[in-house]
């Protein structure tokens, strides 16, 4: 029997307005090399100045992950040559990172588990190489963008746990509003170290490093593949080779990128262009005070305050955006359970189907509540409401307009409805008889007939009552 040991390294791009050590804009998708200056290009004579906001964001994350913030921390140079690295060293943190020893809680099938965080440190990103058949081109727009490296202890024991950890981490990071956390855009990148060891052994096995995973699902799949690959090797009595492997999502396999090269000597040493930093207690306290309510706390509060089920509260609070949306709706409409139902079923189903990220769900909460109010006033049927919502999501029109345009209001004139009911009774003597003989179900057929006649614009509950009243009268008369 083997035990899986996984450590994760997450690189997070912070969404500060400017880069880590200069005043260039930190944004994605601009024309190559338009967001650069002497500092982030590493031109001779230029000097780095730490972006205070980047530090603040880093401290926010560190504190949210229960880390100790160090009283003194410094920046080091990690020396290596690469064309996307303008200075041929990266400003990073080596032996005095800004914070260490934190944890993040995850829920596994059986229990709640703490994944220890080894360190959270700040560094600068490199540029990007673009290879063409003739040339390799460099875009330095990303060079100098602030990155946060969040490293776990090897506390993760399955691909599923790794997935849970990442989902939870992303959720916390989103709550902090320090990053887009977008894996496709590369603002959240994850590498994994994975090894197997005999159960009960305290010695770590030989690990491989997995890269190139650009979704949480990919991380889970890659780890699953790698775990079984390593298990097969060990079962065959062979040794795992220490190497870096790439996840090939198309093939669903990991492939060797490079074997443990001559251990790279980065010649880390303190960056003499940046002084040693100190963070005093006051700053830490003020950042602590601004930390938001995190998903777990919020989930508990939602259950209490809005009388929601654990499941509903969990779904709503996993995304800060959705939770905020829910609360803005709850202010406008006193039926939280009803709001929750619409959000967790209809809205999420729609977004899922259209592959729209939750952040891009832009329907104003007033509009959604407008629809719910019309529904509550029984001016439309529930099924109509569902259709109207879809049109609203497609067009961003308000419910009232759509219903008017499509003439979807329920028949409000009692005499009109009575006329149709009478007609249905008259035209379906068999069903009427069945009902009068005690076949309760027969009434459903009659309701259906009325709905059909009204093209769904009648309130089925009212139709039901009306039918029963009329039939009862008729029965009495008979």
């Amino acid at each position: 029997m083997y035990e899986t040991v996984i450590g994760l390294e997450v690189h997070l791009q912070l969404k500060t307005k400017t880069k880590a050590f200069c005043g260039c804009a930190n944004s994605f998708g601009a024309e190559p090399n338009t967001l650069v200056c002497p500092v982030c290009l590493g031109l001779p004579g230029s000097l780095p100045v730490l972006n205070k906001k980047a530090l603040e964001y880093a401290l926010k994350v560190a504190l949210a992950l229960n880390c100790e913030v160090k009283e003194f921390f410094k920046f080091d140079r990690k020396n290596y040559y690469y064309p996307d690295l303008p200075k041929n060293y990266q400003i990073s943190q080596y032996d005095m990172p800004l914070s260490i020893n934190g944890y993040l809680e995850i829920d596994t099938e059986t229990k709640n588990k703490r994944i220890r965080i080894k360190r959270v440190h700040l560094e600068e990103d490199a540029g990007k190489l673009i290879h063409t058949p003739e040339y390799s081109l460099v875009d330095y727009n990303r060079a100098g963008v602030p990155l946060l490296e969040i490293v776990t202890e090897p506390d993760i024991n399955s691909a599923e746990e790794a997935y849970e950890y990442l989902v939870n981490l992303k959720s916390v990071l989103e709550y902090l509003e320090v990053s887009d956390c977008n894996m496709e855009k590369g603002s959240l990148r994850c590498d994994a170290n994975v090894s197997l060891r005999k159960k009960g052994s305290s010695v770590l096995g030989i690990k491989t490093e997995l890269k190139n995973m650009n979704s949480f699902k990919a991380v889970r799949d890659a780890l699953d593949f790698e775990i079984s690959r390593q298990r097969k090797i060990l079962d065959g009595g062979e040794r795992v080779i220490q190497e870096t492997r790439l996840w090939d999502a198309e093939e669903g396999i990991t492939i060797s990128m490079r074997t443990k090269e001559e251990a790279h000597d980065y010649r880390y040493f303190p960056d003499p262009d940046l002084v040693i930093f100190t963070v005093d207690e006051k700053v830490i306290k003020s950042i602590k005070d601004t930390l938001p309510e995190f998903p777990r706390q919020r989930c508990l509060r939602f259950q209490k305050e809005y009388s929601l089920s654990f499941y509903d509260a969990e779904v709503l609070t996993r995304s800060k955006y959705l939770a905020d949306y829910f609360e803005s709706c709850a202010k406008l409409y006193p039926y939280p359970k009803e709001i929750s139902n619409w959000l967790t079923t209809e809205v999420l189903a729609y977004l899922n189907e259209k592959k729209i990220p939750i952040e891009e769900f832009t329907l104003e909460s007033e509009k959604l509540i407008g629809l719910l109010k019309i529904l509550q006033a029984k001016q439309i049927s529930r099924n109509t409401a569902k259709d109207v919502l879809r049109i609203m999501l497609d067009t961003n029109k308000d419910a009232d307009t759509i219903i008017k345009e499509k003439n979807l209001f329920l028949i409000s004139d009692e005499s009109d409805l009575e006329k149709i009911v009478d007609e249905v009774i008259k035209n379906n003597p068999n069903s009427v008889n069945d009902y009068l003989k005690g076949k309760e179900n027969a009434i459903m057929f009659l309701v259906g007939q009325v709905m059909k006649q009204t093209k769904g614009k009648a309130d089925p509950v009212r139709v039901n009552t009306l039918l029963k009243t009329k039939l009862k009268k008729g029965g009495d008369n008979a």
Binding site: P38, L43, G45, N79, R267
Partner: protein, 491 residues
């Protein structure tokens, strides 16, 4: 108006404070001065070779653009060492690898000079990347000492010093990592100040060793030095190591009175290797200072003997990393034989092999070695510890005195080629200046005598951190009581 009523220009008199006075009284104007310097340079420069980039047309144009508003250095020509960035002008660190590089920005000191109306007067020669003590390692060839052209002007700011000493310019900026302003000032018989680390912004100074480098003035006398400091000193938010404390008006420190001032003379600086004539000149200076009623006492800097080794570990470690960016990818020299390059590593190594000179390569290798895995603790980390001890030596000594007085260099200017084959001998010529950089304290070099061969001798005055004022006061008083600064090389 005819110009014949104006006084004829005495080139030897072109000091900043003199010029400011003559401009004010309208006896001279900047154009006359610049024209005069141009013709002087034409005669002198072939013998000295102080400049590596000099653009007459651009300077003439700049002259027309001298701002109408008053500036502290309005119309004053100032030469810049070639490792300090001047926007859109060549900044090559006298290295092949930066051939053709013109930065798109000004160093903060250059920005301040421009703001105060100074005229940027060419880029001065230097040891390649400031690696040297003789100004012989420049890709553009050596600079010659104006006092004896077969001698070195000192380094690495040799071009900056020689240009001032030969009156080719009025003042210049240099950089000092281990003595690179003070030693050439001493060899050329002028005044050179290395300010406190953090006093002058390093933004735009092509880094040699970031934790040691500091920009400073090289001038014809102490007053000019104070005037130039008034402009270049001060906090700069672009440099994280710059210190945000107020800058005094240094000219106010120029008082001819040092009564009661306590001068420490470190015994470790007079033990071995010191030239007899240098020693004699310093002793005479001490006698004069005593006559001026200052108190002179012996102090100790016990870790002096480790300074050179410590310096070469820290400075080369930082240099190896600072120079990693010169790789031919973005700017500067790139290997010509690009078609036969197989991969990026070969591209880097060819570019760097062809672009760097021997001394630069030696220091890059040394620095890479002391930082590499397995040696870091034994060399770099230990050097940092010794550096702390050296810093403490100064703190202790300054409990007993206001200024520490030493020779600037153990010898007078040596002959060209004399030490180029022996790097260790060359490294020892900074033995008196290096500790100052390791400790981050300020120090000046000013003339205190001449050898029998008419070669200048310099005296170094070291101050407490951010106490350049006391240095100026002692230097000015000494200068006003001697006439070394009136002596001129025969060219």
């Amino acid at each position: 108006m005819s110009t014949d009523k104006r006084m004829p220009i005495n080139i030897e008199n072109l000091k900043i404070h003199r010029l400011l006075e003559l401009y004010r009284t309208k006896e001279l104007n900047p154009k006359e001065v610049i024209d005069c310097l141009f013709s002087h340079i034409e005669k002198i420069e072939p013998k000295i070779k102080a400049f590596v980039h000099f653009n007459r047309e651009k300077i003439t144009k700049e002259l027309e653009n001298i701002p109408q508003k008053e500036g502290k250095l309005k119309g004053i020509p100032v030469t810049i060492k070639d490792n300090i960035c001047v926007k859109d002008e060549p900044t090559t660190c006298a290295s092949k690898i930066l051939g053709g590089f013109s930065p798109p920005y000004d160093a903060t000191v250059v920005e301040r000079l421009k703001r105060e109306g100074a005229i940027l007067f060419g880029k001065a020669n230097m040891d390649e990347f400031a690696f040297g003590s003789s100004c012989e390692t420049s890709f553009y060839g050596p600079t010659h000492n104006p006092w004896n052209t077969s001698c070195v002007p000192g380094g690495s700011s040799g071009g900056s010093a020689a240009a001032v000493a030969s009156d080719e310019t009025v003042a210049s900026l240099g950089s000092d990592t281990g003595g690179s302003i003070r030693q050439p000032a001493s060899f050329c018989g002028i005044v050179g100040l290395k300010p406190t680390y953090g006093r002058v912004s390093r933004y735009g100074l092509v880094a040699f060793a970031s934790s040691l480098d500091q920009i400073g003035p090289l001038t014809k006398d102490v007053k000019d030095c104070a005037l130039l400091m008034n402009v270049i000193a001060g906090y700069d938010e672009k440099d994280s190591t710059s210190v945000n404390i107020p800058v005094p008006d240094y000219t106010k420190a120029l008082v001819k009175d040092i009564r009661g001032m306590k001068i420490g003379v470190p015994r470790e600086y007079f033990l071995e290797g010191i030239d007899k004539e240098v020693k004699k000149a310093i002793e005479e200076a001490i006698t004069l200072i005593k006559d001026l009623k200052a108190e002179v006492k012996e102090v100790s800097l016990p870790h002096t003997e480790y300074a050179v080794a410590t310096y070469y570990i820290i400075a080369t470690a930082e240099a190896s990393s600072n120079l990693a960016r010169f790789d031919g990818v973005q700017y500067g020299y790139r290997t010509k034989d690009i078609s036969s390059v197989n991969d990026i590593i070969q591209f880097y190594s060819r570019t760097r092999k062809e672009g760097f000179g021997a001394e630069a390569k030696r220091r890059i290798m040394l620095g890479t070695y002391v930082l590499s895995h397995g040696y870091y603790d034994a060399y770099y980390l230990r050097a940092l510890k010794v550096r702390t001890l050296i810093r403490k030596d100064f703190e202790e000594a300054f409990k007993e005195c206001d200024i520490i007085l030493t020779p600037t260099s153990p010898t007078p200017p040596f002959r060209m080629g004399e030490k180029t084959e022996n790097p260790l001998a060359m490294y020892l010529s900074d033995i008196y200046t290096i500790s100052v950089n390791l400790a981050g304290v300020p120090a000046i070099s000013l003339p205190c005598g001449f050898t029998n061969d008419q070669l200048p001798i310099g005296m170094q005055l070291i101050g407490k951190p951010f106490d350049e004022e006391t240095i100026f006061r002692l230097a000015y008083t000494y200068e006003q009581n001697t006439d070394w600064h009136y002596k001129k090389p025969k060219l």
